[in-house]
């Protein structure tokens, strides 16, 4: 049970918590929060493998994590803009009530 096990298990736990939240919560913003948790768990995985892996001088894990952080920020902004636009139309941010294609 070396440290790498600990970090990977923590990342797996965060991922499943994010997954559970993203598919069970009703509010659209909390779905996005779950997605952000999953992205963070994957980042932790990358950095843990970079630190404890065979070739840390290649900086591959660090690069992946940096790009992942940038993409997550872009995706969060577009997702939240969509939620705001949907709220303006349906007057609710509840994903169960946004269920008609009309209008």
């Amino acid at each position: 049970m070396n440290p790498l096990h600990g970090y990977l298990l923590l990342a797996a736990l965060l991922f499943s918590i994010g997954l559970a939240g993203a598919v069970t919560r009703r509010n659209a913003i909390l779905v996005l929060v779950g997605i952000e948790l999953m992205l963070n768990a994957a980042n932790l995985n990358f950095i843990a493998f970079w630190r404890y892996g065979p070739n840390p001088e290649a900086l591959t894990g660090v690069m992946f994590a940096i790009f992942s952080i940038g993409i997550a920020a872009a995706e969060a902004s577009v997702g939240l803009a969509l939620i705001i636009a949907i709220y303006r139309h349906y007057k609710t941010a509840n994903v169960d009530q946004v269920n008609s294609m009309k209008g």
């Binding site: 600990g6 690069m63 939620i83």
Partner: protein
């Protein structure tokens, strides 16, 4: 598996659970911020200074504020909803998540690669990261610049108030 890791990991898990299960949306967003901060502490512990500080700058300084603004702009009148907070078939989602965790944990514990982990901390410098970004990873760098520009313009257009046709 030292004490520092156990404490920070426990904080991360508790705040992630709180972020996904609290009733009040703003409390969820603030617990998510605590999760981001403890993850940044873990990155610093893993000797990835640049990523840890970028995590604080981008996630806590931008994404958390975005989420908080979106919560404020999509509020119903009642701050703490009395209605159900979980979907009707929530047990399916929970079951899938538990199954996912079991599969991942089994894969981690039985993997041969994980057993051969090196323990010497790598020495990196910001100059090395900049060097790699400009030489080996210059194409992803340019593409992500384009992606961020597209996301910026797209988000502004999607969330803009439509002009009323008079």
């Amino acid at each position: 598996m030292d004490a520092g890791f156990v404490i920070i990991a426990a904080l991360t898990v508790v705040s992630a659970l709180a972020a996904m299960s609290l009733r009040n949306l703003v409390h969820c967003a603030l617990c998510l911020t605590i999760t981001f901060a403890s993850l940044a502490a873990l990155y610093l512990k893993l000797n990835a200074q640049f990523v840890g500080l970028a995590q604080v700058l981008v996630y806590i300084g931008a994404v958390a504020i975005l989420i908080v603004f979106a919560i404020l702009l999509t509020r119903s009148d009642d701050q703490t909803p009395r209605a159900a907070i979980l979907s009707p078939a929530w047990w399916v989602g929970a079951g899938v998540a538990v199954a996912a965790f079991c599969v991942l944990a089994a894969a981690i514990c039985s993997s041969a690669i994980v057993k051969t982990a090196s323990t010497t901390a790598p020495a990196i410098s910001v100059e090395g990261i900049g060097d790699k970004l400009m030489k080996d990873y210059v194409l992803p760098l340019e593409v992500i610049g384009l992606l961020l520009t597209a996301a910026l313009i797209g988000a502004v257009i999607i969330a803009m108030q439509e002009r009323k046709q008079t």
